[in-house]
Amino acid sequence: MVTRNKDLQKTTESLLKKKDSQAPSKKPVSVPGDNPVIYPLDLPESDARLQTPAVGARATRPDGRLHGLGQTKYIDDMSFPHMIHAKILRSEYAHAKIISIDTSAAEAIPGVLATLVGDEIPVNTFGPTFQDQPVLADTIVRHKGDGVAAVAAVNEQIAADALEKIKVVYEPLEAVFDPQEALKDSAPKIHGDKTNIYTSKIIKKGDVEKGLAESDHIFQRQYSTQMVEHVPIEPHASIALWDGNGRVSVWSSLGRITLGREDLSRTLSLPQSKIRLIGTIVGGNFGGKNEITNEPILALLSKKTGRPVKCVFTRGDEFISSTIRHPFVMDYTTGVNNDGKIIARKIKLILDGGAYCSWTGTTIGKGSILAAGPYNIDNLFVESYAVYTNKTTTGAMRGFGAPQVCFAYESQMDEIAEKLGIDPLELRLKNAFTEGSASPTSQQLQSVVLKESLKQASDRFGWKEWKK
């Protein structure tokens, strides 16, 4: 399935080779910028937007037409008079002490208006659960996506060139990349000096060992998943403007402005009343735009320069410095009776937590609660550990661990079905939650339509009739 249409690229290449000899049009030449763009006016609205009752209607989106016209203003489409551009220098090492940062050569470049390093940030930590992440690393870098310095210049190119003039002296530290290695006592410690495990979870119900001992069959398997990037087509972007009243306005691609303002207030040591955070239409989030990244940096660069400051991540920044999906290593042991009834399930999850906590607390929580699958299992034991590694920070991504554990529990369901000679649909129906089922946390579940979804999907697909 590795596919990529190269036709478009080919077209572009052939045009690039085109000669410059094409005759210019004879139409009168106008001054740049004075041509009004034609906006359609007074278009009719869809019936679904006009109908009552409103709920259940296939109403078109108010933002949909503007998207199609190219009129939606994302951050990168906004500009302010005297606006300048920021770029962020990333770490050269996955794990190192910062000995010194010298920005003087960068500042000497014409067009560079300011630089910023971590120790200039009033409170240089943030994070939705633990504030274990520096806005710009000032003492230690813990992965290669850590920012170490920022430059603001009159254009992006000068800012990018200036980054190369910043001299950072590092003392490399031993790094650890594999979460299983990071669990060992001998592993280098990424935060503090005790352990790399930074959060864990237990779900316990019934007696799992007894349940497994009494089961007719035991199924055991390890499953694992990879690191995945959100790939919003719009990279992270923001603009900050520190005004004469000491108030800062920030336009940002953040999906959570209430938390974002709290984080800005904390990192800048500025009252929340002095901060305005405006979320624009976001060009894709999927969990990756749920915490601040460069916003405090831009605010401080704006304060230093008296100019509005914009920063749009490059695609490379997006991959290496924004959060990504947690890889899981998942050990599943399941006891099942001859009739397909699941008696007991024992699960161990190891989450590659990356360099900082970010949304790992939520991921380990949901992952653990959901790990046994939507099945009635009386004897259950789930233990989960998130461990720091010197890799990209893992955080919130569509499903918070659920796609990982679903891959494991549903793969094992099919192994059980095959071994016991039961149709996969019947095995699921036999064990599925129903209205009032007790969840792994003994919550009584309501509005449960799992069996309905299994039957409806099987009917639609033609599960029973399907032939190879």
Partner: protein
């Protein structure tokens, strides 16, 4: 350097540095921000515009190379009275979610329909293959382009 170019039917001139891309010129010199920067290397297609009848990644094309060309951007598709059928069907079917890929996606679709009045689903998939979308799974876009083709053919038949 001076670049003379026709954009959405209007003649424009810009004075840009030699490394300026067509995308940068459209956005920074002409305030046409419909085409977006998503990757800057021609992978994502959100910068797609039509140059002399071919859809192009404008982040890969130097502005100077487009000199003398006719460029159509997303801003040039609608009139005062009417959306282009692709824009209209994308809206009607909810084919865009975050919308960031939309301008490029619609330009690729428009260019396809200019050349192929009744494309098959596979031909539509081929035409969109250089435009990445992370929100929609492309499904409603493909449906919308089929509907737009029908509408264009019906209008032309009248």
């Amino acid at each position: 350097m001076k670049v003379e170019i026709t954009v959405n039917g209007e003649k424009k001139i810009a004075d840009v540095s030699p490394e300026t891309t067509l995308l940068k010129m459209l956005r920074d010199e002409f305030d046409l921000t419909g085409a977006k920067l998503g990757c800057d290397v021609g992978d994502c297609g959100t910068c797609t515009v039509v140059v002399d009848g071919e859809s192009v990644n404008s982040c890969l094309m130097l502005a100077a190379r487009a000199s003398g060309s006719e460029v159509l951007t997303i801003e040039g598709l609608a009139t005062f009275q009417k959306l282009h059928p692709v824009q209209q069907k994308f809206e009607d079917l909810g084919a865009l979610q975050c919308g960031y890929c939309g301008p490029g996606m619609i330009m690729s679709a428009k260019n396809l329909l200019d050349k192929n009045k009744s494309p098959s689903v596979d031909e539509i998939r081929d035409a969109l293959a250089g435009n990445l979308c992370r929100c929609t799974g492309y499904t409603k876009m493909i449906e919308a382009i089929q509907e737009a083709a029908k509408e264009i053919n019906t209008t032309n038949a009248l």
